[in-house]
Symmetry: C2
Subunit: 368 residues, 2 copies
Amino acid sequence: MAFSDEQLSRLALSAAFEPGDESIGGLVAEFGAIELIDRLRIESSEHDLSRFGRRWQSRDWLQDAVAELDQAADQGVEIISPGTPGWPTQLDDLHERAPLVLRKKGPLNLRQAASRSVGVVGARAATQYGIWVAEEMCAQLASEGWCVISGGAMGIDAASHRGALALAGPTVAVSAAGANLAVPASNHSLFARLFTEGAVISEVPLGANPNRRRFLVRNRVIAALAPVVVVVEAALRSGALSTMREADAMGRILCAVPGPTTSALSAGCNELIRNGGAMLVRNADDVIGEVLRASDSPECFAQSTESINLFEQRVIDLCAVRSVSVAHIAQGVGVSVDACTATLHLLERSGLVVRTVKGWRATNKAHR
Amino acid sequence: MAFSDEQLSRLALSAAFEPGDESIGGLVAEFGAIELIDRLRIESSEHDLSRFGRRWQSRDWLQDAVAELDQAADQGVEIISPGTPGWPTQLDDLHERAPLVLRKKGPLNLRQAASRSVGVVGARAATQYGIWVAEEMCAQLASEGWCVISGGAMGIDAASHRGALALAGPTVAVSAAGANLAVPASNHSLFARLFTEGAVISEVPLGANPNRRRFLVRNRVIAALAPVVVVVEAALRSGALSTMREADAMGRILCAVPGPTTSALSAGCNELIRNGGAMLVRNADDVIGEVLRASDSPECFAQSTESINLFEQRVIDLCAVRSVSVAHIAQGVGVSVDACTATLHLLERSGLVVRTVKGWRATNKAHR
């Protein structure tokens, strides 16, 4: 894989400095990674640079980055950064807080998966109710071609990935540890499946351990990747709610699963619904319905021709020759009419299908 | 008790014709009860009158009404009709569908109780979760001086009345049977307490049995009496939801308790919250909060000086001598600041308290 000096410099900077640091992100945006490293090499009088310079000069980070590249190649880990084909442009919504690079272990094309995805978050110490809802919702999302993005943690995260994998659906874990590690260890078998059938992505170097800060800043990546984020179970003042706040700040669609008012683990969800911070959703259909309603708001999606997934291609194929009804297409791809309509609206916005008197038809652009 | 001919005529008409009949209500509004009976006595060519005339002429309803008056006196049952002091004017919002009269058994002043009340509805076949929430919510409402109005049925209704009675709070059952009967029989001990500590009210004659139609039209009375109606547990297409629709049509505040998406008995509640038909509430504080938010909408309340309850009197007493803070009053009466503020707003609208720099102070009107 051709890897530019700029990308190698980003990889080195991402190891030297903790992820989500706006100052470093701002400096990379201002100077580019290569020039920033040149400036960090010399003792500088500028306050910010001298602070970061000491850290940079404490170690040969570029040599470490070269070693990580080798390790990545050995372990089938892909390094993704802005400009590489797999980079999901939704991450640009994080501006200075966007990851400098991502390490990805697993076959899934992250950019394609993220273009039609749902972020699912929730408590680690989830109840059986939450676990059941997350599994069921994510299995249904998977069956309708939506990628489930979660955090790979115990509880709701693990149930969400499991639900998607159960129906061979795409799913991505955004890890706070190195992308080649199974953390927490209790999710070892889940990570084994994500490595071979989905993807584990991370901003921190291969082999790196997570810490409290890394768990927190990881949340912003989940929030950025998906156009919609669902919280299944969450206590008041929980990590899951902080993810929802991140998602809200980026204009994502927020959904929450209600629960008993007697359950502390539904308190965060019920509170969000009550104060208008999230839409009440009961299942995948409701979530897809929210996307459908919002599909006229272009900022929620960064759909482009190159990011069509297999599901969307099947939808296009079904209306490639002549105009057909939504019901016909839905039956052909085996999803609900609502889900199919949502997909058609997305494809319409990309100019790949058009509405006709008889239903929908693929455009010339789709035939290229 | 002085009982006018008009009231006796209404009592007779209410026995001859099923409650909630718009045609009869319209005719009473047009002619008055006495003149309507005069017209029903003669064979009339007017379509509506001839239909009702046959029913009227089938029996000596006025004699029955006199007998019911005697029975009411024997059993301590009060007959309330428009114009009598205990008539809650909120019922006028039902227009032609307003009850012609109400029979009331129990010590509670209905007009006073309704002026600061919460309607609580829900499934007969409630879950333990719903029962617990209803009891807890209604106990708290009672402790803060709110009357709980429900239907006297099993499940959520019974739990609501029990919760209120547990804290010696005011509570009213709107029965589909005669007000002197305990229906269903399984709620016998509950009705015994309502007869002596609260009130059972009904539109149908003493001793009358309920039927499907009477259960349905009873719901509109619950919806009309309270400024806010809470559904605790309800299946889709349930009687509780029909009460909510009645309440909505009258501009009442609608609240719903969320529940697991896996519970059929929370499906109606979750659906209402999801489609914006009701506000999510978790407890009595949330319900009171909704009233507080809506308290600038005067149509929700028909508060008048005569309908001050003991709780409100205690609030007034605490700020009778000098201006005091809400926190001070709340502590004095033993309720939350939110609940106390709600009460103060209601009293302010009645001109009984005013806001001052230092908090609140009772007006001269309150000292009368």
